[in-house]
């Protein structure tokens, strides 16, 4: 990996995050005038985490204040909102965004102080209660319609990213509550229950991997086996790394190592490099099937955390290499795959008019002339993930103390 370029991309990522925060505190998913000029609870929370990692404490705080104030009366965090914090959601429930807001808030409190949690404690209670209202008491997992891919066909049910995010959010709420002297014993028990069920029901010991989803149509179906959707989704999906991403398990846990091994083998793009989010055959490949920098960065952190510097470098180095003018796209593809997507959607009669803007953006991107389809550049989320991955990499493999520690460890081992 070109370390100088890696550092430049890190610096650029910080600037991109700063430049894409509205004065009201919301982080755009992509800049005004591009495809996603709104604030999405999921993207926004991860950008807060990236900002925190980069030391942008004021920006992170303003981001948290913004999103907490945008909470709906039901306790739900909006799927997306405008710069005023007014709900402009257009998709059905995406409960992971609720867990993510709590998770980001908890991380902020641990790094800075608990004042903001005290100030917004009512909101914290409302989000927790909202999550718990969506927990099924037969298998003690949280039900959602959409999750990280906004793709109900594979995510409607008890999905792994949504459950890991919500569980981690509850754990953070418990930590905040304890720090503020609140009675959060019940939340603690609930979080433990959900965690236990993620680690058993969403794990397949025969295949030694986490699975994507227990597909269930109605949260209240009882018994669940009679629900019309009742089935499991076991295809490899980058989201199956979620239990470690949200610190429910250590990266060195064998269940995580094997899950990532499977993701790496199945989803690393043999033609373009980088990590695809799910199998091509799921066939929702807007802009053409291809690798996503933010999933690549997430899994790069796993390799860092287990000390696999070779694989970490391949992953992170790929992100550095594909950055265009130090900006990262949502994902990239080839012209051939892009054309295939257009053909298949047009023939099926499902090509939408609003995709025209995206298509124009892809074709006018300088990389098109080089044979690549760059879809939505810059997307802010991958910059936040890059900051987090680069910092981990730097601390583990480039930093003073960590490097010395590793050397000492190596000497002792010898």
């Amino acid at each position: 990996m070109n370390l100088r370029e890696a550092k430049k991309l890190y610096d650029s990522s910080i600037e991109i995050i700063k430049n894409n925060q509205h004065k009201n505190g919301g982080f755009y998913a992509s800049p005004p005038g591009t495809r996603y000029p709104f604030i999405y609870a999921r993207d926004h929370s991860i950008v807060v985490l990236g900002a925190l990692e980069a030391g942008l404490v004021d920006e992170a705080r303003r981001g948290l204040e913004f999103i907490l104030a945008a909470q709906k009366p039901t306790g739900e965090m909006p799927q997306r909102c405008d710069v005023e914090g007014t709900d402009t959601s257009y998709k059905e429930l995406q409960i992971d965004g609720n867990g993510l807001v709590l998770y980001a808030l908890g991380k902020y409190c641990q790094k800075v102080d608990y004042e903001i949690a005290e100030e917004f404690w009512k909101n914290v209670e409302l989000v927790v209660n909202y999550i718990l209202k969506n927990r099924n008491d037969e298998i003690n997992l949280v039900h959602t319609i959409n999750s990280i891919h906004e793709y109900p066909a594979y995510e409607h049910g008890f999905e792994i990213f949504a459950n890991s995010a919500c569980c981690a959010g509850l754990i953070e709420a418990v930590k905040m509550g304890n720090a503020l002297g609140k009675d959060v014993k019940r939340w603690d028990q609930e979080a433990e229950l959900i965690k236990r069920n993620i680690l058993t029901r969403l794990y397949n010991p025969r295949k030694r991997t986490f699975i994507k989803n227990i597909r269930i149509k109605e949260m209240g179906s009882r018994p669940l086996g009679y629900d019309p959707y009742a089935s499991t989704v076991g295809d490899p999906d980058a989201a199956e790394y979620a239990p470690a991403y949200f610190e429910l398990l250590n990266d060195r846990d064998l269940r995580v190592i094997n899950t990532v091994r499977r993701i790496d083998a199945a989803l690393w793009d043999q033609e373009l490099g980088g990590l695809n989010r799910y199998p091509e055959a799921w066939n929702r490949n807007n802009g053409g099937y291809g690798p996503w920098p933010h999933f690549t960065c997430q899994v790069a952190r796993h390799f860092v955390n287990i000390g696999d510097d070779d694989r970490a470098e391949v992953y992170l180095g790929w992100v550095v290499d594909i950055a265009s003018d130090y900006m990262l796209p949502e994902h990239l593809s080839t012209i051939e795959r892009f054309d295939e997507w257009i053909d298949s959607y047009s023939a099926a009669g499902i090509m939408r008019d609003d995709k025209v803007v995206m298509i124009e953006g892809i074709k006018s991107h300088p990389k098109w002339q080089e044979g690549f389809a760059y879809v939505v550049t810059p997307l802010i989320w991958p910059h936040a993930e890059y900051i987090r991955a680069y910092k981990s990499y730097e601390d583990m493999f480039l930093g003073g103390e960590s490097l010395q520690a590793l050397k000492r460890q190596a000497t002792v081992s010898r």
Partner: protein, 163 residues
């Protein structure tokens, strides 16, 4: 086997028919508005639709399937729905192309109000015939013409404007 979600929306539509028969369209209209207002309040401040210049649009009507299934089951559009739509016509608030528009636009209005905004329903065409209902006063207030709206309606089913 009973599909609860379907039967609940059917029950709502049947209640509308019964309401018009029993209490007349005006009272039923008020009842729908009252229900929608409460639901809008519960949902909280919010804006709908895909921004298109100064207007917002819906590409699909979220209620269209429920209505279509009802009509498949019960036959042609009940006269009670038509009576209700006539009531809506007398009010400059709606561009109601089906009976759900009254319900939906009232929720939209309440949520806009909670967000400190006003919303005008300009046109919709969410009915089996794809026949557009216009709110001419609202179109005029938005400085638009019917031709402008028709152009938009080629690719959308509902147009409204926030102020």
């Amino acid at each position: 086997m009973v599909d609860v979600r379907k039967i609940v929306s059917e029950a709502f539509l049947m209640a509308i028919i019964e309401g018009v028969r029993k209490d007349g369209p005006e009272k039923t209209f008020e009842w729908i508005e009252h229900v929608a207002d409460n639901l809008g309040e519960k949902e909280g401040p919010g804006l709908e639709g895909d921004p298109k210049g100064s207007l917002n649009c819906l590409h699909i009507c979220p209620f269209a399937n429920a209505l279509q299934e009802f009509l498949i089951k019960y036959g042609e559009t009940p006269p009670e729905f038509m009576a209700l739509l006539d009531s809506a016509d007398r009010d400059d608030t709606f561009a109601a192309s089906n009976v759900f528009c009254i319900f939906h636009h009232t929720i939209r209005t309440k949520r806009a109000e909670l967000a400190g905004r006003k919303v005008y329903h300009l046109a919709s065409s969410a009915n089996a015939e794809r026949k557009t209902a216009y709110n001419e006063k609202a179109i005029e207030a938005a400085n638009m013409t019917k031709a402008d709206i028709d152009e938009l309606m080629e690719k959308t089913v509902c147009v409204f404007k926030y102020e």
